[in-house]
């Protein structure tokens, strides 16, 4: 849950007070192997983050899904619309495909 994530971050309590004025968020993006930290503005569309991540990992955007607490992140979303806090984590999942 969001609480957990907030509590899990050791930086968080100390930075709690300057949070509202800071326009920048540190967001951890992780698939199961790598973790990448991004610092982005609250109003920045997450598309930029996703694209950067994909480029770095050599994946195509179409084949991965970014989830914030189980909710799919759309390219047009911003940290604001997702009510993200500093240090929140975006999980990167493979596209789900099934047939048999």
């Amino acid at each position: 849950m969001a609480d957990n994530a907030e509590n899990g971050s050791p930086v968080q309590p100390g930075l709690e007070t300057p949070q509202p004025p800071t326009e920048h968020l540190n967001i951890k993006v992780t698939d199961n192997n790598n973790e990448v930290f991004f610092k982005i503005k609250r109003t920045t569309k997450l598309e930029k983050l996703m694209t950067a991540f994909c480029e770095r990992q050599g994946k195509t955007l179409a084949s991965v899904r970014f989830l914030f607490e189980g909710q799919r992140v759309q390219p047009t979303d911003t940290p604001d619309t997702l009510e993200m806090a500093d240090g929140d984590t975006l999980e990167v999942h493979q596209e789900q495909v099934g047939g048999c």
């Binding site: 607490e69 189980g70 596209e95 789900q96």
Partner: protein, 1409 residues
């Protein structure tokens, strides 16, 4: 039945009785035995006749006609088989042998005989002669017999010159034929020669005295055609019309040529005349000629009145290597390669019959160009086009490759060819070379030509005596190379052949097959065949038109040569392969020299002949394999012998030195000092050769070596940075300047300035060679055949004495052997058949049976009058060692002939008995042209074998009856005749009748006959000789007597012979009285036969009737069974329907129950229906859209692109991705909520994304608060919600979890399990429910249920199942009733349309289900 037929038999009996005792001493037993025999012959006649007896009865009046019929039947049906002659024991008669003098009958005729003898007498000789005469026209004359006859005549002629002077000229009735006497004598002349005016010929004595008058007129070989006749047969015309002139002629020619090739026929291809006129004037049944000036082409014409077939030899069997191509019936065997041949139907619009399927042979196996027949219907331009097209289209790779390969093969084969050609050249003929120089005479201005003629240079190898010989040493045994056994075998074989020739154990026939057929233990088959082939090889095939003299001289020449060659072979092989020769040579030479003269010049000349002969044998071994001697061995010997001829070192004498020199690969010196004991791990052991010539070290080189073309170009760095060092252009070989050539002084060689004379003939050819080349050139041009072209090349290259034979496969490919034999084989056989028939007809026309005199027997007999008393000087001059010919000849006169018809043991007495001669004579007479060897029915395939006649029991009965009817009358007529000394037919009648009345089995008659009758024949022999020296008074009488005796003895001795008495003649001489009873009998028999036939018909009818009844009964039964079956069928159908109805009712009931249980119902209308055209287009376009453009957005905000449609949804086997699933499921929930008027936060139906379930699994329910909130699932409203849809993707499989809070159920639908879910999933769902409801959760209310859904049977549709199940459950429908699994491909498109439509609205509204 046999009434009529018994007549001839009867008369024959009479006659023989009458004539059989000209000399009183002949005894009774002969009289008795002869009638038996004749009676049997009569029986044969009878059987012959019995086939159509009623034809005779209508015209009883015209007896002649009827008798004609009888006669012709006899003539036609006569079949004679080869007989095994049983020679009578030798007698001790004087040594003058006279053949044929005895039975000279005046060529007058039955008439004359009757006048002299009385009413119904016909001499047996006449009869026999007539029989022969009657047989002859029905057969083609070119048979074996005639050859045999001629061979026999040849002996006579060979022997005839030293005839003793004491033989009275009167006893020479038919002098040996002079060549001038029968200039146009044909093949048939020997057997068919006939006196010109038989009916008017004078008395017998005069005939004997004037042989020229009695010389027979012979049938010219090529009959002059009656001008009015059309010259072509229909068959020919028709085929030519079908195929077109040129194609036909070419094809025919090639077919004939190939056929000859396959049979190893040496007759040579048919001649090609240079113009039509020439062809008209020429000879031959088929005549090929050229037309056109610039571009010559081939035509063929047929002269159906010319019976000269193009093949005169009688090689009828295919060579063994070609046998595999043809089936027995001449068709081509199916080959594996044919399976993938294409077939093309060729149809020409004009001619229906031209429609046929033609194989198109693949290019690799395609026979040469004329192969592809040009359809006659196609116009010329079209052909042209086709050809050019083919030329261009077929040209590519394959042809080039083939060209290359061919060239390579030719190049590789060249040394061999050269060697062989050289050998051929050297062995074959002296080759000259002419060099001529021309210069202008300064004084006169004319051109002076000087021609130098010299031997062509042989490879002058021996000029440097020991060049290249240092590694050669003498062999121990000269026979090692060829093989000791082989040489021994060959020498033995040659010696035995020489011996056979000396003894005359040879046989001569027309073909090898015949030889093989006729061979027996006493004759030497290899010598016979060898000689046959040698004659063919040296003098070409026997031409039937040649006069026998020529043939015979050729034969004797061939024999002499063959014998000489064999002796030379033995001599030379004895010398060359002598064991001690090496020792002697070793004494003379230290090392093998190059130049090695052996023997004197004669010896060396012989060696050349032997070399040729061995090559001939090598060829012959192909035709008939030489047991024990391989062609290789023969060739090796030939090489050795050739070396002897050229005074070179004989290859068999030398071998490569056995010790290795140290520059040979693998050399390892074995001298002790080199070897020492070293343990192998201490030192590498390397062969000296390797150590001395080490292989270049690969590894080192490889790294260092730089491929000059593979340098890397590095571009000059851009930018402001200066390189640390100057970048130079990489060195390229191209940039290296060309080195200047050193200029040096040189003198110009006069050789390089030499200008060759204007024209130097490369070769001086013999006329024959030039003709050969010319001939081949024409063929190559006209036939356009690959083989012909090659032949031309070969002819240019060398004389072509011995051909290099390619293997049969390539021959087939090159010559189109199978193709042409398939195409024309049958046609040519047909032509031959036509020709034979025409020939036969022609014979009949020219020699109608009636007016042909009967002189044949006399002719054949009269020729041979031989005495062996006087010294016989053989004409042959061969040095056959020390053989005393006279001695041999006196011992066995037949042996003078190299080819006696069959081997006969030499008689003990030097004198040849008359019986023997008659036995031989029988051969001559009986082996009429229709004779054929038992296995050679192929000779005359057209003519059916005449049925073998066998007397039956009732035949004997009938004969008995007939004799009974006749006898009383005859006796009444001529009682007094019996006392007369002159032989009369009636005298012995009772005896004859008695003999016939006790019919014995044939074997019994046969067996004792020869033994008995030898003695009886002898006196007659004496009498006969007596008549020879007699004067003319008694001549006529004794003549008859002799004749009859001759016939008797002949008939006695020829057991296998069947003489068919010419019924017509016999009858013609007789009275009506005798005929009468036979006619009555015939009618009686006819009646009997009718009765029998009716009886038989009655029985048949009864059987028929019975069969019919049976059939009816069976049909009845069948009908009944049928009906029964139909009834049962109906019953079963009714039960089935019943069952179906019940089933349906039960299903309905169950469905209702199910609906009650699950709260799901059946839909009101089908869930999955076709898309409208517009939507179909939109879906299709979505799969073709710009890959990056956003086609639509799901409710979640996820943009969908072309990839989602094209790759993840629309292909029938695509696996669906989360975008599609989530998008659709959300739309379902949205539709339900919208329809129910519920808001997002108070939904009736709620959908979660597929990422909910992994989150639930990993974080538990408490970690999903955000998602649950977003889905509007809260404790307060949860129980009001109808459906919660949770798509799950686990292990690449989409399933659907459903919670129906209002019904308090959880369930899980897995399409792979037909809707049943997994318990674990349901447990998790209950946990989730419990987490959401917290204290409102009452455990007892909740249950896990199973829904039924269609079963997924493939590996790709589960996503679609999941969505469709979700639709059903959200709407409260039973999935199992709502759709079927096979509709899901369509459903994919519908789902795509829904996504594009952004929800279940409009066209996709779910209202009304």
């Amino acid at each position: 039945m046999n009434t009529v037929n018994a007549g001839p038999a009867h008369w024959a009996t009479n006659r023989i009785n009458a004539t059989s005792d000209p000399c009183p001493g002949t005894g009774v037993s002969e009289i008795v035995s002869a009638p038996k025999r004749v009676a049997r012959k009569g029986l044969r006649l009878g059987i012959e006749m019995s086939e159509e007896p009623w034809k005779l009865s209508p015209d009883l009046q015209s007896r002649n006609a009827k008798l004609n019929f009888v006669a012709s039947r006899v003539a036609i049906s006569t079949s004679l088989r080869p007989r095994t002659s049983t020679l009578p024991p030798p007698s001790s008669a004087p040594r003058i042998l006279t053949i044929g003098t005895t039975t000279i009958n005046p060529p007058t005729s039955p008439r004359a005989t009757r006048n002299s003898r009385g009413s119904r007498e016909t001499t047996p000789a006449v009869l026999t002669g007539r029989i022969l005469r009657r047989r002859c026209p029905s057969v083609s004359p070119d048979t074996r017999l005639s050859r045999l006859l001629r061979a026999r005549a040849a002996i006579a002629r060979l022997l005839e010159s030293p005839l003793p002077p004491r033989l009275p000229s009167a006893s020479l009735p038919w002098p040996p034929r002079e060549p001038s006497a029968s200039p146009a004598s044909s093949v048939s002349s020997a057997s068919l020669s006939l006196p010109p005016s038989a009916t008017n010929s004078p008395a017998p004595a005069s005939t004997v005295d004037s042989p020229s008058a009695a010389l027979p007129a012979t049938l010219p070989a090529t009959p002059i055609a009656p001008p009015g006749l059309a010259s072509e047969t229909r068959r020919f015309r028709q085929r030519r019309g079908e195929e077109g002139d040129e194609t036909f002629a070419r094809g025919l020619y090639l077919a004939i040529r190939n056929d000859q090739r396959m049979r190893n026929c040496r007759c040579g291809s048919p001649a090609i005349f240079s113009s039509r006129e020439e062809a008209e004037k020429g000879t031959g049944h088929l005549r090929f000629f050229l037309v056109g000036e610039e571009k010559r082409s081939l035509r063929v014409l047929q002269r159906k009145d010319d019976f000269e077939w193009h093949c005169r030899c009688r090689h009828l069997r295919c060579l063994p290597e070609f046998k595999s191509f043809l089936n027995k019936n001449g068709k081509r065997r199916a080959e594996d390669g044919e399976l993938d041949l294409l077939a093309r139907i060729q149809e020409s619009p004009s001619d229906k019959r031209a429609k046929r399927i033609e194989r198109i042979v693949s290019a690799a196996t395609e026979p040469p160009t004329p192969e592809q027949p040009v359809e006659p219907a196609q116009p010329a331009e079209q052909q042209q086009e086709q050809q050019t097209e083919a030329a261009t289209s077929n040209k590519p790779m394959l042809d080039k490759v083939r060209d290359l390969v061919n060239r390579a093969v030719t190049a590789m084969g060249a040394p061999i060819t050269t060697v062989l050609a050289k050998m051929r050249h050297t062995l074959g003929r002296e080759a000259f070379e002419a060099v001529d120089t021309r210069r202008e005479d300064p004084t006169t201005g004319s051109i002076v030509v000087k021609r130098l003629k010299r031997y062509t240079a042989h490879p002058s190898t021996w000029k440097h005596p020991d060049d290249g010989f240092e590694n050669l040493v003498w062999v121990d045994d000269p026979r090692k190379r060829v093989g000791r056994e082989t040489i021994d075998f060959l020498v033995t074989n040659f010696k035995s052949q020489i011996q056979s020739i000396k003894e005359g154990n040879l046989i001569q026939c027309d073909s090898i097959e015949d030889i093989e057929d006729c061979i027996d233990d006493a004759t030497d088959i290899s010598a016979s065949i060898g000689l046959h082939l040698y004659r063919d090889y040296r003098f070409g095939p026997v031409d039937e038109r040649d006069p026998p003299e020529k043939t015979d001289s050729i034969l004797s020449k061939a024999l002499r040569e063959y014998d000489n060659r064999l002796r030379a072979c033995v001599k030379i092989m004895d010398v060359v392969y002598h064991e001690e020769i090496i020792d002697r040579l070793k004494q003379q030479y230290d090392t093998p020299p190059r130049h090695l003269p052996l023997g004197d010049s004669n010896f060396r000349k012989d060696a050349m002949d032997v070399g040729r002969f061995l090559l001939f044998l090598r060829e012959a071994a192909r035709v008939r394999p030489f047991p024990g001697a391989t062609p290789e061995a023969l060739a090796q010997i030939a090489v050795d012998v050739n070396a002897v001829h050229k005074q070179e070192m004989v290859p068999s004498f030398i071998e490569v030195r056995r010790e290795m020199t140290d520059d040979m690969p693998g050399h390892f010196p074995l001298d002790p000092p080199v070897l020492e004991d070293v343990s192998p791990d201490e030192v590498d052991v390397v062969g000296i050769y390797k150590a001395r010539y080490p292989e270049p070290d690969k590894a080192d080189d490889w790294d260092k070596k730089i491929n000059p073309g593979q340098y890397k170009l590095i571009s000059r760095p851009k930018g402001i940075l200066k390189p640390s060092k100057e970048w130079a252009e990489p060195e390229s070989p191209r940039n290296v300047a060309t080195p200047q050539k050193k200029k040096s002084l040189s003198f110009v060689s006069p050789v390089s300035r030499f200008v060759p004379p204007a024209r130097i003939p490369s070769k001086i050819m013999t006329e024959e060679q030039a003709k050969n080349i010319e001939d081949r050139k024409i063929k190559a041009e006209v036939l356009g055949d690959e083989h012909s072209k090659k032949q031309l090349e070969e002819a240019h290259f060398a004389g072509g004495l011995f051909e290099l034979r390619p293997d049969s496969k390539s021959l087939d490919r090159e010559m189109g052997l199978t193709h042409y034999s398939e195409r024309y084989g049958r046609f040519i056989r047909g032509l031959k058949h036509d020709m034979d028939r025409l020939k036969e007809a022609e014979y009949r026309r020219r020699y109608p049976p009636r007016c042909r005199p009967l002189k044949l027997r006399r002719i054949t007999n009269g020729k041979l009058v031989v005495t062996f008393d006087s010294p016989v000087i053989p004409r042959r001059t061969t040095n056959y060692g020390t053989t005393n010919y006279n001695e041999e000849i006196t011992r066995s006169p037949v042996l003078m002939n190299p080819f006696p018809p069959r081997p006969s043991p030499p008689p003990k007495s030097p004198r040849k008995t008359l019986e023997e001669f008659f036995a031989e004579d029988d051969d001559l007479d009986l082996m009429n042209p229709e004779w054929r060897p038992p296995r050679s029915a192929r000779d005359l395939p057209d003519r059916p074998e005449p049925p073998i006649l066998r007397p039956r029991d009732d035949d004997y009965e009938i004969v008995k009856k007939l004799y009974r009817t006749v006898t009383p009358r005859e006796e009444a007529q001529k009682p007094e005749d019996a006392q007369k000394p002159e032989p009369h037919d009636d005298t012995k009648k009772p005896a004859a009748v008695g003999a016939v009345e006790k019919p014995e089995p044939r074997g019994e008659v046969k067996e004792p006959a020869p033994a008995d009758d030898v003695q009886k024949a002898e006196p007659s022999d004496d009498a006969q000789e007596a008549t020879q020296y007699d004067d003319g008074q008694q001549h006529a009488k004794s003549d008859d007597a002799q004749e009859s005796t001759a016939v008797d003895s002949k008939e006695v001795y020829s057991d296998a012979k069947e003489v068919f008495v010419d019924a017509k003649e016999v009858l013609a001489n007789d009275d009506d009285v005798l005929l009468q009873p036979s006619i009555e009998m015939l009618e009686q028999l006819h009646l009997d036969r009718q009765i029998e036939q009716e009886f038989r018909a009655g029985v048949l009818r009864q059987i028929e009737e019975k069969k019919r009844l049976e059939e009816e009964r069976r049909r009845e039964e069948q009908r009944r069974l049928e009906e029964e079956r139909r009834r049962q069928e109906e019953e079963r159908r009714r039960q089935e329907e019943e069952r179906l109805r019940e089933e349906a009712a039960r299903r309905q009931r169950e469905a209702d129950e199910e609906a009650a249980r699950t709260g799901l119902r059946a839909p009101n209308r089908p869930l999955i229906t076709d898309l409208s055209g517009e939507w179909d287009n939109r879906v299709t376009n979505a799969a073709r859209a710009n890959p990056n453009s956003e086609l639509c957005k799901t409710l979640e905000g996820q943009p969908l692109t072309r990839r989602d449609f094209e790759e993840k949804l629309l292909p029938p086997t695509a696996w669906l991705n989360d975008n599609v699933i989530i998008g659709n499921i959300l739309y379902i929930a949205d539709y339900v909520n919208t329809t129910a008027g519920a808001s997002d936060q108070e939904p009736k139906c709620s959908a979660l994304t597929s990422y909910f379930w992994p989150r639930l699994m990993s974080h538990g329910p408490s970690g999903c608060g955000r998602l649950l909130r977003r889905a509007g699932l809260r404790k307060q409203n949860f129980l009001d919600i109808d459906t919660v849809l949770i798509p799950i993707c686990e292990a690449s499989h989409w399933t659907l979890a459903v919670i129906r809070p209002s019904r308090r159920t959880v369930s899980h639908l897995d399409s792979m399990r037909a809707g049943r879910g997994h318990e674990s999933v349901k447990g998790k769902l209950l946990e989730l429910v419990k987490f959401i409801l917290e204290d409102r959760f009452v455990e007892d209310e909740w249950s896990a249920v199973e829904y039924e859904a269609p079963l997924q049977t493939n590996g790709w549709d589960c996503g679609v199942f999941t969505i469709t199940n979700a639709i059903c459950l959200a709407l409260g429908l039973n999935p199992k009733l709502a759709y079927r699994a096979d509709q899901l491909t369509l459903q994919r498109r519908r789902l795509a349309a829904v996504l594009l439509n952004e929800g279940f609205k409009g066209d996709f509204s779910l209202d009304g289900f």
